[in-house]
Symmetry: C2
Subunit: 330 residues, 2 copies
């Protein structure tokens, strides 16, 4: 594969085989976008099928440009599909782009892995191969959502259907570390609940409330309605509720934009810029010893570029180290 340079240039792995049909052109366009938009130094391992690689090979030198940026194409024969059963797929398709990426991450041959693949399979494979960070018991998916007050980091949006109060506290730690890595100095934390009173909601939430009270920037329970006021930087929730929360806000948004589009296409375009800032796309699979980003299967090259940039940023800012420190202090 790629040889590590002394200059500590980050090496990233990218798996664009998320959708069942992934065209040569899409991969080429995405790679061109990367090299056009990102000016820091990075090396890339791209997983692709052999026929795509034949198509790309001639182009690679053109778009990596000067400056010694390396781009290695890694041929895969297997792909985990969107509707594959995660556990079954991960066990059977060991040579798939998704499983290979996680293994390279484990072997420290790459510093971060970005995948548009089956989310369940990505989590399953990561859990199988990567150790948890010290002090953390479960991995969580972190997504960013726009609000009136900037982006809120929602933890967890789907990795854990059930959570203990202690895990919810760990999610707060992860969210805080993540927002800090994005430049928020003292991120405030809220617990997604069905009322603001301390005793509201499920038992694990009332217990997490008690534990979070010792947290420096805990603002208490936040209702689904209030999240969008932007009073919290980190929204803590279990993966079931967080997934419903995230998808409901997405569903409501596209419903409203559809109503609007008949009246004013221009306004819709303007509003989309606020509602779908490129920073929002992709989720971080957090908690294990590896930087893993999950992107939508149909992600625009622009969004993938942003994810790549963020992964580089997380590597260069020692995100995993900071998360460990944060946690042991908490």
């Amino acid at each position: 594969l790629l040889t590590r340079k002394k200059s500590k240039t980050p090496i990233l792995g990218i798996d664009l085989l998320g959708e069942d049909i992934c065209s040569h052109e899409y991969i080429l366009e995405t790679l061109q976008y990367f090299y056009k938009s990102i000016d820091v130094s990075f090396d890339l391992i791209v997983f692709a099928k052999q026929n795509t690689i034949s198509y790309l090979e001639k182009e690679v030198k053109l778009f990596t440009g000067s400056g010694g940026r390396q781009c290695a194409l890694f041929a895969v024969n297997e792909v985990i599909r969107v509707h594959d059963d995660p556990l079954h797929a991960v066990r059977r398709k060991k040579q798939s782009s998704l499983c290979l990426g996680i293994r390279l991450l484990k072997e420290k041959k790459i510093d971060a892995f970005i995948s548009t693949g089956n989310t369940g399979a990505l989590i399953t494979s990561a859990k199988m191969h990567l150790p948890m960070l010290e002090g953390l018991s479960k991995a969580a998916l972190i997504a960013l959502l726009p609000t009136k007050g900037g982006l809120v980091a929602v933890v967890d949006v789907g990795a854990n259907v059930y959570c203990t109060p202690q895990q919810l506290v760990q999610f707060a730690q992860m969210g805080v570390a993540y927002q800090k890595s994005l430049g928020i100095r003292n991120p405030s934390v809220g617990l997604l609940n069905i009322g603001t009173e301390e005793k509201k909601g499920r038992k694990e939430f009332t217990e997490a409330y008690t534990l979070l009270r010792n947290f420096p920037s805990f603002v208490g329970n936040v209702e689904g309605r209030e999240v969008f006021s932007g009073n919290v930087h980190v929204l803590v929730t279990d993966g079931f509720t967080g997934n419903i929360f995230l998808k409901t806000s997405e569903g409501m948004t596209s419903f409203i934009l559809e109503i609007m589009s008949s009246s004013s296409k221009l306004l819709v375009k303007e509003i989309k810029k606020t509602l779908y800032p490129v920073e929002c796309f992709g989720a971080v699979l957090c908690g294990m010893d590896g930087i893993i980003m999950k992107c939508h299967g149909n992600a625009h090259p622009k969004m993938l570029t942003y994810s790549l940039q963020r992964a580089i940023h997380l590597i260069q800012n020692s995100f995993l180290e900071k998360l460990k420190c944060n946690y042991s202090r908490g």
Copy 2:
């Protein structure tokens, strides 16, 4: 109070003392709205403080108009406030408008009760005094939400933090009966979940999925994003998740409308008509032997009028009887 006429004119109780401050003018305006907008025959019991009653008394005859419509003013000294602890309040404030309304419903002195009061206290008081309908084990709050395909009835939006699979099936029954009462002939049912596959989500959901398969119009799991496509008439969920779902969609809506309002106030007004159809306001507390509607504390007289009309409609269409029959057949 009011004497029942032979003509079976429905008698409704209304409690507008939901907000801590409820002006004479607001109550007067609301009553005027009722009598101006509703042309079917109904009698009304209005709970109000003594000083409001003195203010209203002269007006009552003016707005009830001709046709023998009766409006009785019922003096109360106690009010359960928004932030009162529900159980404590219901036990202590037995002479509050909310508790008196539920008691009148129990004694069949009114046919339906509409309240803008503390939701928790309303549920607590109803559970204390009203028997459950045969075959139903828990009461649920049903709310209507706009989608591309019309209104979806979401059950439960907050009465039960935890639910068994059997209760989720009962919620499906309630939602179906409610949509039928609104004129939908064969309402389709979906289960709010984090994926469409049968085995997705919490245990109570996978078990409910199995039970609901025998249901004639069950379409399977529905993700938060897909609800707004309007493929289901009834969305089944527990009260915790349903509350997050409802409030998230409200929060996202007002966030988007706020972004828009700077560009086009006129368009916002148009879109609000679609997003906030007057039919959506107010929730029905379903499952007990009594028709109970809960409205927002700051509800516009127009919305309250709609709730009143719907309560009359439910009475006249023997909603409770139909719910019992539906259930025993299910």
